[in-house]
């Protein structure tokens, strides 16, 4: 009863964030092969908890913090075409040669990007990622509203996620459908999706190789 009331009123959720179970996120972390090196791109803000989790494996973590460093506005305002592609490239941390991205944490940032901006960003990431790389995202699905600014998601000790961004104003959520997202993630195609208890949909995308993409 309480959970259904919360789902119906996003302001309640905003005021008192609750940890939520995100099975695909958990699966990604537990599936990291400790014997090999991973390159992980985090589009959100750095958090000690996340670094502690990732630090269990051999990895290089690239943090873009799009929300704080003006990346969202920059992308949404860029003119379609080369300018947008350039804007997307410029938001990513400098890459090391031969260090292709294996895993991307998008958190809820896709909800705050136009579809053109999202396509450009994921295309830029796709150019730096190895085929088969995975991207994780949280999409507002059941709720009509979302916070005005992206969340600051942090894993809890139990492996759940909690949004530490605090209360804030709300705005209409775009509620991107799987079909729309499937066409707006560059060469990343939907691998799996789960509807979560908090009304968000959790997506796992997989990067196709150039050959795979041309077959579609």
């Amino acid at each position: 009863m309480i959970s259904s009331l919360r789902r119906a009123n996003p302001r309640t959720l905003s005021d008192s964030p609750a940890a939520f179970h995100a099975p695909l996120f958990q699966e990604l972390l537990t599936g990291l092969d400790a014997t090999r090196r991973h390159v992980i791109l985090d589009l959100g803000a750095a958090s000690t908890a996340m670094l502690a989790l990732l630090g269990r494996s051999r990895c290089r973590v690239e943090i873009a913090d799009l929300a704080h460093f003006g990346g969202i506005d920059h992308l949404n305002r860029a003119e379609h075409g080369p300018a947008l592609a350039h804007a997307a490239e410029s938001l990513l941390p400098n890459a090391l040669p031969d260090d292709a991205i294996d895993l991307v944490f998008c958190w809820d940032l896709p909800n705050y990007l136009t579809l053109d901006a999202l396509s450009a960003l994921m295309a830029a990431i796709g150019r730096r990622a190895r085929p088969g790389a995975l991207a994780h995202a949280l999409i507002f699905y059941a709720d009509r509203d979302m916070k005005e600014h992206p969340g600051r998601f942090v894993p809890t000790a139990d492996g759940e996620l909690i949004d530490r961004s605090g209360p804030g104003a709300v705005t209409a959520a775009p509620r991107y459908s799987p079909e729309v997202l499937g066409k707006s993630m560059g060469r990343f195609v939907i691998d799996r999706a789960r509807l979560l208890g908090n009304g968000m949909q959790e997506f796992l995308f997989r990067l196709e190789s150039c050959g795979d993409a041309s077959n579609h």
Partner: protein, 194 residues
């Protein structure tokens, strides 16, 4: 040119009556990072340095520094007012202010709340407090960190040999192309001081 603190961080605090409350916590925080209290040179908030800054003692930067900072066996703190646009090499680095450039530490790098860091972080231990702003990469592969720091078993000091984006070694970066008005600044203490 540099303000030198006296025996401990409490003395540093008492030198500037206008220092705010968060700065007053600085001494204890820094002691945690370096594992010892005591002497530290201070680049004050009105000081601007362009060029290579090298030294063999702990340093706190509250001013503006551009170029390269090398304190391979010492602790560096970039204070709340500090703005550093440089690649930094030190034993440990704590950031409360702003940095743009790569940070290399043989022991630990701590990015505190409200700090703004853009660049890559290479250290065996890294902590980023909630509320800090960071854009760049963090190397968490022990083998890659070891390689980047070129740590020598003999002295345990950071000897940066990491390759930068152009494929040059960090040693190459330690002698960057200097601006016309470059000033090489040595922070070695006068003889007789630690």
């Amino acid at each position: 040119m540099f303000e030198r603190s006296k025996k401990d961080d409490d003395t540093i605090e008492s030198q500037d009556a206008n220092r705010n409350e968060s700065d007053k916590t600085f001494g204890s925080r820094r002691s945690k990072v370096t594992g010892r209290g005591g002497d530290a040179a201070v680049i004050g908030r009105s000081i601007q340095i362009n060029g290579d800054l090298r030294g063999g003692e702990d340093l706190r930067i509250e001013g503006d520094v551009s170029g390269t900072v090398e304190l391979k066996n010492s602790a560096l703190t970039i204070g709340k007012e500090g703005k550093v646009k440089a690649d930094v090499y030190a034993r440990s680095i704590a950031v409360d202010g702003e940095t743009k450039g790569d940070l290399y530490a043989a022991e630990r790098i701590s990015v505190h709340v409200n700090a703004r860091v853009q660049g890559n972080i290479i250290a065996p231990k890294v902590s980023i407090e909630e509320g800090a702003h960071f854009k760049g990469s963090i190397e968490m592969d022990p083998a890659a960190v070891e390689k980047a720091l070129g740590k020598t078993a003999a002295n345990g000091a950071a000897k940066p040999v990491a390759e930068n984006k152009s494929g040059k070694s960090a040693d190459d970066k330690a002698t960057p192309k200097k601006p016309a008005k470059d000033a090489r600044t040595n922070l070695h203490p006068p003889s007789g001081t630690a």
